[in-house]
């Protein structure tokens, strides 16, 4: 993995976000720099959901924030409908940024604990002077869209509401800006299973109704697979593989993608899978990433070339790109049971 290259980018007119060679560095101890995101490229079409998966520390959340320019990336370009955000003045950026909205992992933390729900949601209208007396009405409307009763929750504080309700409110606050792109950073991982399902269904409904484009970041491959049209797999600051969600699930080409799939716990007692690898999965330090392909230290297929050369993205089939010297052969994965028991 550790792939670079832009072979997978599309040239269509309806690409809403195009990110090229994105790099984010953080200062670390002793004057060293950590590359949290090491030159990745991707694009999102209008109305499309692109999912990002990977283990903690792979840079998926940093990527989401870098798209928002919070903080700005070290290098690379972020084009939103053709306009490069990295080149904007801070004043223009302030306006452009409102077209990108973000939903966070911790719903309690994403709302100001000392402000009433209605005020939190109304804030963007106030800031941009769009509140011409109909602000309250708009707030009630957007609360209804996310399935909340404005009369019940409007005057409450976040601490008086459940995690699921707070997450709905965070979505409402993002929606009121009518964003071109919604960045969801682990929006359901702090929620209970039943509430998680409510929020995922809500996001699907909103996408359908308003043609929302989404960047959906999560560590749970099953969740990402369910909500995404396309899925990008990340490892240690690089992209490994990008393809539509079905292809990722059924015909993964990158060894890391397969490892992730194998690790997903299946709610079916007849399936018993053990991880292929005996050695504990240790992610190398991003301070000193492996040469060549960054995944080679964990990869069962690694050979000398993997240490010497960084694999570039190449096409496997239409829309399926992988950055690996030895991609898995195109045999569909054999499952012990095709049908999940619950359905």
């Amino acid at each position: 993995m550790a792939g670079s290259g832009t072979a997978h980018l599309r040239a269509d007119d309806d690409v809403i976000l195009r990110v090229e060679h994105l790099q984010v560095e953080y200062p670390a101890k002793a004057g060293l720099k950590v590359q949290a995101v090491a030159g990745i490229s991707f694009d999102i079409r209008k109305g499309e959901t692109l999912g990002f998966v990977g283990e903690s520390g792979c840079g998926k959340s940093t990527t989401g924030r870098a798209v928002l320019q919070l903080p700005s990336p070290t290098a690379g370009s972020v084009l939103v409908q053709g306009k490069d955000l990295t080149k904007l003045s801070s004043r223009d950026m302030r306006r452009e940024r409102t077209r990108l909205q973000m939903i966070f992992q911790d719903p309690m933390s994403s709302l100001n604990p000392r402000r009433r729900i209605r005020d939190s949601i109304r804030e963007p209208l106030t800031i941009w002077g769009r509140d011409r007396g109909d602000g309250r009405q708009k707030v009630d409307q957007v609360l209804e869209q996310v399935g909340l009763d404005a009369a019940v929750v409007g005057d409450r504080f976040p601490s008086e509401l459940s995690g699921g309700q707070c997450q709905r409110i965070a979505i409402a606050r993002a929606l009121i800006m009518e964003p071109a792109l919604l960045i969801c950073d682990e929006p359901v991982s702090a929620l209970d299973v039943s509430v998680q399902a409510q929020i995922l269904n809500l996001l699907e409904d909103l996408k359908e109704q308003y043609g929302l484009s989404m960047m959906f970041i999560a560590h749970d491959l099953a969740v990402v697979k369910n909500i995404s049209d396309r899925v990008a797999v990340m490892y240690l600051g690089k992209l490994c593989e990008i393809a539509d969600a079905e292809t990722i699930a059924k015909r993964p080409a990158h060894p890391y993608t397969r490892e992730l799939i194998n690790a997903v716990p299946v709610p079916d007692p007849s399936i018993r899978r053990r991880s292929e690898q005996k050695a504990p999965a240790e992610v190398p330090s991003p301070l000193n990433p492996p040469s060549g392909c960054r995944f080679r230290t964990r990869c069962p297929r690694a050979e000398a070339v993997c240490a010497a050369e960084e694999p570039q993205f190449h096409k496997i089939t239409d829309g399926h790109y992988v950055a690996c010297h030895f991609p898995l052969q195109e045999t569909p994965m054999v499952r012990t049971s095709a049908e999940p028991v619950g359905v």
């Binding site: 299973v193 399902a197 099953a222 997903v264 053990r274 504990p280």
Partner: protein, 370 residues
């Protein structure tokens, strides 16, 4: 786990003695809003050498129950109004804290969710392990040290000698959880309670830690209670699963039965609300409307009724008992169980009325098979 290849021994066969019997156990807390019934009459029988999964969402009481078994719930506001916990023939819930402490380590041990907070940050890993060994087993320092390295090796830590001299923060999350498992296993406990042992970890690491617990259990013939919110985690790794809701067990059965013959609407909903890799993307997920039940006050009827698509008048007034009408090892607490005639009729009644007896609109429910 030993029994995953063959079906779990039903409770009625007496070839194995129960190691732990929890009978009508209650743990309450006094709060400003009234008595909070965190665990409200739970009965459980854990056979020696088996693995039981306790599954539930936050507020279900699974964590308080597991801590009550160890005697770890210490709060001024705690009330334990009834029930017994019997371990190896001894009623342990009446013992003094000092006497109970004697069971920790050698008889029961616990693995916690967050390995960072359950390890002491200022002591080396080796020191934390040898401390347990010298304290509980009276080993000499040199012997304890050698045993500590052995233990670290057995839980899959590479270069155990070197690692023993390192501090917790120098290890990754997965490695730290291996260390806490090594500490828990150090005195060869007969019962291991694992409370969300993999929730804080990445999926790839999660699978490895669960495999490790599996191996260690069969190697040591341990009994294990696996507490989790994730049905996927218990599916392949337990003999029995108990689903908890609002402080009660709502359904308990051998793992396979629970997944194939689900009877309680909550257990069914929980299973179907998980996205799977096999279903096509954009599959609409089954949801449970509303929010977790309030645990204060005397329960009137079934606690799940306000969120249940099967709810009838009876569910609002009468508490369903936990009974086993079909097979002796499969109990559930529901008046209108899923997949039975009364259940199907209840669902159809609610569908034609447009709402349940609790007043919840059926449009909020994603009803499958209707």
């Amino acid at each position: 786990m030993t029994a995953t290849t063959q079906p779990a021994a039903p409770d009625t066969t007496n070839d194995r003695e129960p190691l732990l019997v929890v009978d009508d156990w209650k743990t309450y807390f006094k709060t400003a809003g009234g008595l909070l019934r965190a665990v409200d009459g739970v009965s459980l029988r854990v056979d020696a050498g088996s693995t039981i999964g306790l599954v539930g969402e936050s507020g279900s009481g699974k964590t308080i129950l597991s801590r009550s078994i160890l005697g770890l719930v210490r709060s001024r506001r705690k009330v334990e109004p009834g029930g017994t916990i019997t371990y190896d023939g001894v009623v342990i819930n009446k013992l003094s804290p000092k006497e109970r402490r004697r069971y920790w380590g050698k008889d029961m041990a616990m693995v916690f969710q967050n390995p960072m907070t359950s390890l002491n940050p200022v002591l080396t890993i080796g020191r934390q392990l040898t401390e347990v060994l010298t304290l509980h087993l009276g080993m000499s320092k040199a012997l304890a040290r050698a045993r500590a390295v052995e233990l670290l090796e057995s839980v899959g830590i590479p270069e155990p000698k070197k690692r023993a001299d390192e501090f917790p923060h120098q290890l990754s999350g997965g490695m730290r959880q291996r260390v806490t498992i090594a500490i828990a296993l150090s005195c060869n406990p007969r019962l291991l309670l694992a409370d969300e042992p993999t929730t804080a970890l990445d999926v790839t690491v999660q699978a490895q830690i669960l495999d490790l617990l599996d191996e260690q259990q069969s190697a040591r013939d341990m009994t294990m209670i696996l507490v989790t919110h994730d049905l996927g985690v218990v599916a392949g790794r337990t003999d029995t699963v108990a689903v908890m809701y609002a402080g009660k067990i709502v359904e308990i059965a051998p793992t396979k039965t629970l997944f194939t013959e689900t009877r309680h609407p909550y257990a069914e909903a929980l299973m179907r609300s998980i996205p799977t890799m096999d279903a096509p993307n954009h599959t609409r997920l089954f949801t449970i409307p509303g929010r977790p039940a309030q645990l204060t006050g005397e329960p009137k009827g079934c606690r799940f009724a306000p969120r249940c698509s099967y709810a009838q008048e009876k569910c609002l007034t009468e508490q369903p008992p936990l009974v086993a009408p079909e097979r002796p090892d499969h109990s559930f607490a529901c008046w209108f169980p899923v997949g039975t005639k009364p259940g199907q009729e209840a669902l159809e009644r609610n569908l034609s009325a447009g709402q349940t007896a609790a007043g919840t609109s059926m449009s909020l429910m994603t009803v499958l098979g209707a």
